[in-house]
């Protein structure tokens, strides 16, 4: 018995963004075929990789996680978890800029996307910033506002990208929409190249039926 193709994400924002992004490009997810699982944190997500890959009846597994400060270190962490389950798995030294898709020796498929673009450090919100419409005039204001907060008062710590994106969402026509809703409401533009690249990876890594 092989169940749905599974996609692991770090949190509920990722889950809603992905679901809604696919919806606006015309792909409604059916839970029995494609399941997005919120692992509630990067550590849980990494721990789940070897356990799920060891289960040979899982034919397809994809993961979306933040690169955070160091994309190379995060990629090594992913590779180490894959090799724990499949020691002879062949993985690229650096993540594929178009999103990584590898076939394990037994023909199963594993995909990984490091937010924002598999090349830079960052998080989901850095990716979403790339979806800000080209005609937008407000992001600059959000950028200046958050950037101008003195170091001692930066309660958001390292999550500057998140603070900026939410500051920007706070001054839209319908202020304060959650990230996923901002995608369906097209406040964020799903036709931007970054969104198209991510959706294409989702299709190859996760949506496509299992081989064999």
């Amino acid at each position: 018995m092989s169940g749905p193709n599974e996609l692991l994400v770090e949190g509920s924002d990722d889950l809603h963004v992905i679901r809604n992004l696919l919806l606006v490009v015309g792909h409604r997810l059916e839970e029995r075929d494609h399941k997005v699982i919120d692992k509630q944190g990067v550590e849980n997500l990494l721990d789940a990789i070897p356990v799920m890959l060891k289960d040979v009846e899982r034919r397809v597994l994809a993961v979306v996680l933040d690169a955070d400060e160091d994309v190379s270190a995060r990629w090594q962490a992913v590779c180490a978890r894959v090799r724990r389950a499949i020691p002879d798995a062949v993985l690229p030294l650096t993540p594929d800029p178009a999103g990584t898709v590898v076939f394990l020796p037994d023909g199963r498929r594993f995909g990984a996307w490091l937010m924002p673009d598999n090349q830079l450090g960052g998080m989901l919100e850095d990716f979403l910033k790339l979806l800000v419409p080209s005609t937008d005039l407000l992001f600059e204001h959000a950028d200046t506002f958050v950037g101008g907060i003195p170091v001692g008062a930066r309660l958001f710590g390292a999550k500057e990208a998140k603070a900026k994106l939410h500051a920007w969402l706070a001054v839209q026509a319908d202020p304060g929409r959650p990230l996923g809703v901002a995608v369906t409401a097209r406040v964020l533009d799903p036709s931007r190249p970054s969104a198209a690249a991510f959706v294409e990876w989702l299709r190859r890594a996760w949506l496509a039926p299992a081989e064999g």
Partner: protein, 341 residues
């Protein structure tokens, strides 16, 4: 099938164990009466159906029916194979099974004769351990007592439907008036207020059946009237105590008849008793509740090493293979609700 492979490996292919294993599964074939005058025992009696030992494996003459053991240590490898044979008499006129060599020529036997029967040959490494005449009619009496030195190798085995009353009785008798008896009662207290247990003759004279006396009652009750779970727990506790010699206990479908709410306590008992007696327990299940209870019990007990072995096919056409999940991985699976399909 995994547990049966372990039984065969642990007993080094003891013929008694092979016969017992097939008999437990009612794997006989009835052959037509043989007209062949060369046969010594033409008979309509049931014979063991060896092809049923490992389902789906072709029974080929001279080929290995199965190999069991560590792939890295060939001297430990147990091999079962089918060889052509015939009956001969030794110098004292005693009947013996003689094998032909792989070309079908007479090797052990005098030249020019054809084989007229098949034998099951077990070898460990290169050493031939036993030869069983497969055409010998099967009767219950053939489940002989194991040879001295082999008995303690036989791991107690609890089938999915439970163990026979006769076996349960023998396990109970082995514990009479020992601390083991008390530990069995302690285990039963996991699910009820048991005071004492005895085995008495019931309707059948062939085997005694267990009765139970509860605290605060005057009359004992038959264990069978208390539900499947009670009998199974009794069986598991007895078998664990009787596994001290073989250091191995095999349980098929552990959770059969046991309410899921009792599983955590049952596993707690098993891990505690198994570490105290240094017994390795192999239990099979199809229930995720049972796996979760197992995980919780091994996590609690720092002395117990527990792994989950999942048997699966990668694809429908692939052979079954085993994947091992260690304690940490199993903890991740249960904590995160990753069902191992």
């Amino acid at each position: 099938m995994l547990l049966e492979a372990l039984r065969l490996f642990q007993t080094r292919g003891d013929p008694t164990e092979i016969v017992a294993l097939l008999a437990e599964r009612d794997e006989y074939r009835r052959s037509a009466p043989q007209r062949d005058v060369r046969r010594e025992e033409p008979s309509e009696e049931a014979r063991l159906d060896l092809g049923a030992l490992f389902h789906g494996r072709p029974v080929e003459l001279n080929g290995a029916l199965c190999r069991l053991g560590p792939t890295s240590e060939s001297e430990q490898m147990l091999t079962l194979s089918i060889r052509p044979a015939r009956i001969t008499r030794d110098d004292d006129g005693l009947r013996q099974v003689s094998l032909f060599d792989e070309d079908g020529d007479s090797a052990d036997v005098g030249g020019g004769e054809a084989f007229d029967r098949l034998a099951l040959v077990t070898t460990v490494g290169k050493e031939r351990r036993s030869v069983i005449d497969l055409d010998l009619p099967f009767t219950r009496r053939r489940i002989a007592r194991p040879r001295i030195g082999e008995a303690e190798r036989r791991p107690p085995f609890i089938a999915a439907r439970g163990a026979d009353n006769a076996i349960v009785a023998s396990w109970w008798d082995a514990l009479a008036l020992t601390d083991g008896e008390e530990r069995v009662i302690e285990c039963l207290k996991l699910i009820s207020d048991v005071e004492r247990v005895a085995l008495v003759e019931g309707a059948s004279l062939r085997a005694r059946t267990p009765i139970v006396k509860f605290k605060g009652t005057t009359l004992p009750e038959p264990m069978r009237s208390l539900g499947d779970g009670f009998g199974r727990l009794f069986c598991v506790a007895l078998a664990l105590e009787n596994a001290r010699a073989s250091k191995m206990l095999l349980i098929d479908e552990l959770d059969n008849g046991i309410h899921y709410s009792v599983l955590p306590d049952l596993w707690r008992f098993i891990t505690r008793a198994a570490t105290a007696t240094d017994v390795q327990v192999f239990a099979t299940t199809h229930s995720w509740d049972c796996v979760e209870a197992f995980q919780a019990a091994t996590l609690e007990n720092s002395e117990a090493d527990g792994v989950l072995m999942k048997l699966a096919r990668r694809r429908a056409e692939d052979p079954v293979s085993a994947v091992v999940f260690d304690e940490a991985e199993l903890a991740t699976a249960t904590k995160q609700g990753i069902e191992l399909r």
